[in-house]
Subunit: 304 residues, 2 copies
Amino acid sequence: MTYDLIIVGGGPAGITAGIYAARKKLKTLLITKEWGGQITKANDIENWPGIKTISGPDLMENMLEHLKKFEIELKDQTEVIDLNKENNEFAIRDNQDNEYKSKTVIIATGKVPRLLNIPGEEEYKGKGVSLCSTCDAPMFKDKEVAVIGGGNAGFSTAYDLTKYATKVYILEFMEEMCGDPLMKEKIEKTGKAKFITNVAVKEIKGDDFVKSLIYENRDTGEDKEIEVQGVFIAIGMTPKAGFAENLVEFDDIGEIKIDRNNKTKTEGLFAAGDITDVKYEQIVIACGEGAKATLAVDEYLSKK
Amino acid sequence: MTYDLIIVGGGPAGITAGIYAARKKLKTLLITKEWGGQITKANDIENWPGIKTISGPDLMENMLEHLKKFEIELKDQTEVIDLNKENNEFAIRDNQDNEYKSKTVIIATGKVPRLLNIPGEEEYKGKGVSLCSTCDAPMFKDKEVAVIGGGNAGFSTAYDLTKYATKVYILEFMEEMCGDPLMKEKIEKTGKAKFITNVAVKEIKGDDFVKSLIYENRDTGEDKEIEVQGVFIAIGMTPKAGFAENLVEFDDIGEIKIDRNNKTKTEGLFAAGDITDVKYEQIVIACGEGAKATLAVDEYLSKK
């Protein structure tokens, strides 16, 4: 049997692609390791249009229930390990040694944020530790916060936070900040920032909520503790699309390059959401991209 | 006073842009003639991720309430009639002779569908008359329907409908269908389609719901009535961005050309949603584009 479409990934992009595929009556299979992706890590989502506040897991549950209303084959707890194209058909293999055939594929496997792997990081996620300032900055009004990472992601996180927090520490492992100097100037001008270089963050401490952070001066080996109510980790994201390496082109941070209609370099192979080189990563953007990818698939199939 | 951002348009793209702008603490004004745009014309929306069914006006109301929660200046029942750029600032004039200054502008004025202006068209909107098959096709399962318009929009509407309806009439005013011949073949193969050319549709009739459609044979002048439960109008859309003509480039159907990050050809001027040349027009896509546009504005301003 050959599917019209296989969607790889069950986050906002993959689920929306699935809803649109089912409504277009495409014979579709959605394969995912887990439901929700990054969204399940979010505590209070306040920028999903039409809902003032919702938890990540709740929004994900709503989307998944919506998807399940339709006729579509779903396979979770499954990882795709190989994708190839032979004789104009895609062959997908999963980690349970199943093989599937499909006329088209949408890759929507998202990214995983790089983490510090230090004590307190996991424990205080959603309790002061955040991975997204666009999502969470407003919750740190009149608080003191630390941003881990002195690259552009860290700078943009810090700048977001200066609008709400009273003090923003920016901590960088290397001897120099590596983000855009103009942006650094802008952050400095707010009078709220303190830049600290050449330090290794060692621990996040708190009670119910984050209270402080400990870092080591890499020159002297001395530890220092600063009081903060928030810690934003901005040391990069890792895309997860190694299985498709023969068929897509990656940009320099491993995202899949797509055109405006979600096409990769291989005919019939599309991508959507955080895994792509679309610049901004937000739930509503990923959903829009998922819809767009399926409409592009539908158009592609209708011309076959 | 100079705003950071003026958003023109209060549909899904404009509202989402506004939510994101307020959260980024941009000094923002949103100007719109009316709230919701196309969305208010939709009866049952079944492809907004996370909500199985919602009426267009209800979804719009949810979004507007969400927007109003934030600090943002809103001005409705107002039309922008002129947009210019002088000394690195945008000057906007509205139909009440007010002038505003802003560092950046997002145009999100959407499109209005072209209509037939015949009896029954307005009366049966949402009661059998539809403007969007991606939205409404599943509601016409086992029904007979007519598509008005034999161009590519009509063909793609008809093809969507063949998956649900038992019979699909495609009516074209000209002597020949003008859509893609390959697509026509594909529709013909379903065995459900009847193509009728050289006709003028004159009236849509029904009781609570559409029951039939009357068209005139333009050769003979004879009227004919066909029984249908649905009428899909697909004779094009008109973009509404004449006020910006000095500062943007239009494609051949009057949509504003943007790059992948919602930039127009004028620095500081962005666009989002149906008014742009992004190919597919859906609520969730417009919302994603609105978010993307504001994030691009924020990045632009942060580098100033």
